[in-house]
């Protein structure tokens, strides 16, 4: 496919990797935030193409993984209502809640449906006026505008049986928390190209300045990521800490202003708990009061409960880039995508799932 295949050329990839090797003089730890980029890196073995001085650690950019356990329990509880149709992205179904998951709820007779777009959830609500349709709306800044437009459309169509269980998160506050942590070892970041397609990179300029850390907005194909890594290495070796844009074919400094406006009209910034990381102030989006009629938390008067993670799961450290998935004793033995202990093993953007898909044989052989 055009603008995709050429960025997967192995010759090109080896060339950029060789440039990185020529440029690097010291060890550097780099983090990609986005789970989509994690999968590209592991799938194409990009970490193995790099010189040994470059260490890649994976960040918290998997929306399914950071959705709080409590919110998953709320979705499962809602799915248990006989008049509710719970609509979700497919990744959420196997994510373990505190006792069960949506997949088992569905097997037990709950009306749980998988869609690829919030517009499909809206259509279900139009077609089945007798059902209360709740859309489990999770995601980063990339996804929030789509959910905002869907809510606006539901309002225009005066739908009374459609609501969102919304759990949106924002990337820059999470990067700030990682950088403020005394355990932080990340020296350069690949910023998520799709989030920046919507938001631009102005927020990242503040982070680069405050923490003197270089940030490169990167794309999703192997050559994109290698080039982003090369740009970070050049900055680090030259002692610069700026925001640069590798993904210029989709991202500009200001982002998609129409998408930002839709987000602001429907959502407001709130504090949000991240699964595995904890509460981060100003890191979430919730529906504005004007849209309370579309807010499942309000419509169904849902309450927060305190719940515990399974003790064996190390996903908290994986999501902060402190440990690799393969350092987990349960990896590919007691924890697999079929029977996950934690969310990163389930999601198509989860770091544990990436290692399970592409690396588990190496790990099991080594064990």
């Amino acid at each position: 496919m055009k603008y995709i295949d050429e960025y997967r050329d192995p010759q090109l990839a080896r060339g950029i990797a060789a440039q990185i090797a020529r440029r690097v003089t010291r060890p550097w730890v780099l983090m990609e935030i986005c789970g989509g980029q994690t999968h590209t890196l592991v799938r194409y073995g990009i970490d193995e193409l790099l010189p040994p001085q470059i260490r890649l650690v994976h960040g918290p950019g998997c929306p399914v993984c950071v959705t709080p356990l409590e919110t998953i329990d709320k979705a499962i509880a809602l799915a248990g209502h006989s008049d509710v149709t719970l609509v979700s992205y497919g990744d959420m179904l196997r994510v373990p809640g505190s006792r069960t998951d949506l997949f088992h709820a569905k097997a037990d007779g709950a009306d749980v449906r998988v869609v690829y777009s919030p517009l499909a959830a809206l259509r279900i609500a139009v077609q089945q006026p007798g059902r209360k349709v709740v859309f489990f709306a999770i995601g980063f800044e990339t996804t929030a505008p789509a959910h905002a437009l869907t809510v606006q459309q539901a309002a225009r169509e005066k739908l009374h049986n459609f609501s969102l269980l919304a759990s949106h998160v924002l990337v820059p506050p999470a990067i700030r928390v990682l950088l403020e942590s005394p355990r932080n070892r990340v020296q350069g970041f690949i910023a998520p190209g799709h989030v920046c397609t919507v938001m631009g990179w102005r927020e990242y300029e503040v982070l680069a300045k405050d923490f003197r850390v270089p940030i490169v907005v990167g794309g999703f194909e192997p050559a994109d990521l290698l080039e982003a890594i090369r740009m970070l290495v050049v900055q680090l070796e030259e002692g610069r800490a700026e925001v640069e844009n590798q993904y210029a074919r989709s991202v500009n400094r200001f982002g998609n202003l129409i998408a930002q406006r839709a987000m602001q009209e429907v959502f407001e910034v709130c504090d949000r708990k991240w699964r595995g990381i904890g509460p981060i102030s100003g890191s979430g989006l919730r529906l504005r009061r004007e849209f309370a009629a579309f807010d499942a938390e309000k419509v169904f008067a849902l309450e927060d409960a305190e719940v515990q993670e399974p003790p064996e799961c190390i996903s908290a450290e994986v999501l902060q880039g402190l440990k690799a998935p393969t350092e987990c004793p349960a990896f590919a033995t007691r924890c697999s995508p079929e029977n996950p202990l934690g969310a990163p093993m389930v999601s198509s953007e989860g770091a544990c799932a990436a290692y399970f898909l592409y690396r588990r044989h190496d790990v099991l052989c080594a064990k």
């Binding site: 496919m1 055009k2 603008y3 050329d9 789509a146 437009l149 210029a248 989709s250 998609n256 129409i258």
Partner: protein
């Protein structure tokens, strides 16, 4: 095409064709390349930037490929 007040467009994804909302990229025209996320186009690819990035990458890649050839043909004595 209009649907419930939204501008929709048919997009080909390497063999699969799907109807997506163009509300976030009103400038999109037939023949454009768009980035699609959960049923919404979120950007129109800048083809000039895409070509420029690729040429840059190719230059880096080729530069090194020549270097590799030299290595391949040299021998340890």
């Amino acid at each position: 095409m209009e649907e419930n007040g939204s501008r929709m467009g048919r997009v080909q994804f390497g063999g699969i064709s799907s109807l997506v909302s163009l509300d976030l990229v009103p400038e999109a025209q037939p023949g454009d390349f768009v980035l699609v996320h959960v049923g919404y186009a979120i950007s129109r690819l800048d083809t000039e930037e895409a070509e420029r990035t690729f040429r840059l990458l190719e230059e880096i890649g080729l530069l090194e490929a020549e270097g590799l050839d030299v290595l391949k043909t040299s021998s340890v004595e």
